[in-house]
């Protein structure tokens, strides 16, 4: 087997959060961090150590934690609310909808453990619905960084975005595929490689898989483009349409249910602006289970091989049509 696109360095996106919060703590006095009895797991403890006066451990009480953050925001602070994705999004959904989003407050919601790669904790802790839940809310910005470096940049950028932001991070160490000096701008998708035959649109840890799939597809004689959509909302429609118009075929890839996530967001755009062949690599409407992160990605269809197969399938349809 050929080596991975990037075997260089591995780190979890939650580690990027820890660094980003430290950076923010040092550069601005208005940033507060709230944790729900998961300070170390979310990496919020790094901020706690350096800025204890601006850190609040709110206990296992996500609803109260979100409301408290809204109060802080109403008084001019920028609170980051850190917990596992299932808890902060799931337990606190109505608080996010009304207290945070309807009030359009500057609350940054961080889900540190997203997707199936949460691993052995099993289905209860594996958030696979959160992108759908968060992107449907008015005023909400949704960020899904691809690696630890991008997660640090997204954390810092979130503080500068007016209004609510959801930052979707992961527990597992994943290859670092972006560089320190790569640009990161909220709402601006990054075309990692242009393509003529098919466009692979990915977010989070699936960006690395998409890059790997593109390499394999090149061996198959297929020119696949790769876009890193780190901002699911607002979606970078212009970049998507430009790339997809060139290929007429899209495969989306996300560590999320097939319903309502990145795939749905991309489908909403292409059906309106550039109808084309589309397929989605995602969890197919089932709960996960306990296991190692990589085993789970394999079993639930979230690897570069799955992306490659879907891409080849679309190309077959495309050529049959001609």
């Amino acid at each position: 087997m050929r080596p991975r696109v990037s075997e260089v360095k591995k780190a979890a996106t939650r580690d990027g959060l820890g660094q980003g919060l430290l950076e923010l703590g040092r550069s601005r006095q208005d940033v507060f961090v709230l944790a729900g009895d998961l300070a170390e797991s979310t990496r919020a403890h790094l901020f706690q150590r350096e800025f204890p006066e601006r850190f609040l451990n709110m206990g296992i009480a996500e609803q109260d934690m979100l409301g408290t953050a809204v109060g802080l925001s109403l008084a001019g602070k920028i609170p980051f609310v850190c917990s596992f994705t299932v808890f902060v999004c799931g337990r606190g959904y109505d608080q996010i909808r009304i207290s945070v989003c309807y009030n359009n407050q500057n609350v940054k919601i961080v889900g540190s453990h997203s997707g199936i790669t949460v691993g052995s904790d099993g289905a209860t802790a594996q958030a696979l619905e959160d992108i759908a839940m968060m992107r449907v809310l008015p005023n909400m910005t949704v960020l899904v960084p691809a690696d630890a470096i991008e997660a640090r940049k997204a954390t810092v950028a979130a503080a500068g975005v007016p209004g609510p932001v959801f930052l979707r991070l992961g527990r597992a160490a994943v290859p670092t595929i972006t560089a320190e000096d790569d640009p990161f701008e909220v709402g601006q998708a990054r075309v990692l490689r242009p393509g003529r035959d098919v466009t692979l649109v990915a977010c989070g840890i699936m960006v690395n898989e998409a890059l790997h799939a593109a390499q394999l597809l090149a061996d198959d004689g297929v020119d696949a483009g790769v876009i890193n959509v780190h901002t699911i909302k607002p979606l970078d429609v212009a970049t998507l349409v430009q790339e997809v118009q060139a290929t007429g075929a899209v495969v989306t890839a996300e560590e999320h249910q097939v319903h309502g996530g990145l795939g749905s967001a991309v489908a909403e755009v292409v059906t309106r602006h550039c109808p084309c062949y589309i397929d989605m690599v995602a969890v197919q409407g089932v709960f996960g289970e306990s296991g190692e992160a990589d085993e789970l990605r394999e079993k639930y269809g979230l690897t570069y091989q799955h992306i490659r197969e879907k891409a080849l399938g679309l190309l077959k349809k495309k050529s049959a049509r001609r």
């Binding site: 609803q63 109260d64 408290t68 109403l74 008084a75 109505d94 009304i98 207290s99 309807y102």
Partner: protein, 259 residues
């Protein structure tokens, strides 16, 4: 205004009138001409459905023109069916019950961090206390000793479907708040002088938050609304409105003569 809207929550808006008056005409530091004045105290109406009472007091205090009250619940109006941040003087949009005290805690924590002496008040309904978030927040206020925060429960004993005792009994209510670290004061929620005294007493309590359990009558002052659960979420029709206003007018005159 509820009659004009054809909908709204009459009962809880009447039971809270004296509470709001004692806050907005006595206790709260505020400036209707400058609703965002930094030195103001903060008031959160956690029971956002009872906004007709709040909107009325704010309008009479001069935050916005009284005529605007008749746009309540109408398309394009700032006066949304539940308390709305876009209304001058309203500190947060609320309406999903149980969320206000957490917001009030956040305001108090921010003031503490900034070294401000802002006082924060949060009015809750008693039915609302069924919500679990209230008790998450109650523990936070108590644990963090937010003595700049004063909670008020509009204890009218009625929620949407029936009496609080029949749905999910809240008693012993004072002991519950005390167990969460609060100083508790029971007060007649229709006696403005007693309320003023209780609010002053709350401010003198140091090291813990204070909860005023304001004993009230739902639909206070209108004979056919008083203690009737059906008037929780209902607006009067024209005829009912005339009778209600006549009764309130009569009671006002009676009191004015008596004093």
């Amino acid at each position: 205004m509820l009659e004009a809207a054809g909908a709204g929550h009459s009962g809880g808006s009447l039971s809270e009138v004296e509470l709001l008056i004692s806050l907005y005409y006595y206790k709260l530091r505020h400036d209707p001409q400058d609703p965002d004045w930094e030195g103001r105290d903060k008031f959160i109406l956690s029971k956002g459905h009872a906004c007709p009472g709040l909107y009325t007091v704010l309008a009479h205090r001069g935050f916005f023109p009284k005529e605007e009250l008749f746009t309540f619940r109408k398309l394009g109006s700032r006066l949304q069916g539940h308390a709305y941040l876009g209304v001058p003087g309203v500190e947060a949009s609320t309406g999903s019950l149980g969320q206000g005290l957490s917001i009030a805690n956040g305001l108090a924590l921010a003031a503490r961090a900034d070294g401000r002496d802002t006082r924060v008040y949060c009015l809750m309904g008693d039915g609302e206390l069924d919500e679990g978030q209230v008790w998450e927040a109650a523990m936070t206020t108590g644990f963090r000793r937010l003595d700049t925060l004063c909670g008020i429960v509009d204890r009218n004993h009625i929620q949407q479907d029936s009496f609080t005792e029949e749905i999910k009994d809240l008693e012993p209510l004072g002991q519950k708040w005390a167990a969460c670290g609060w100083h508790v004061i029971d007060v007649d929620g229709h006696d403005v002088a007693a309320l003023m005294e209780a609010l002053d007493a709350a401010e003198r309590v140091k090291g813990k938050p204070t909860m005023l359990i304001a004993h009230t009558i739902k639909g206070k002052g209108v004979s056919f609304m008083e203690n009737q659960a059906e008037w929780h979420g209902k607006a009067p029709n024209k005829q009912e409105l005339e009778q209600a206003l006549a009764e309130l007018d009569e009671a006002y005159r009676h009191e004015a003569q008596g004093v």
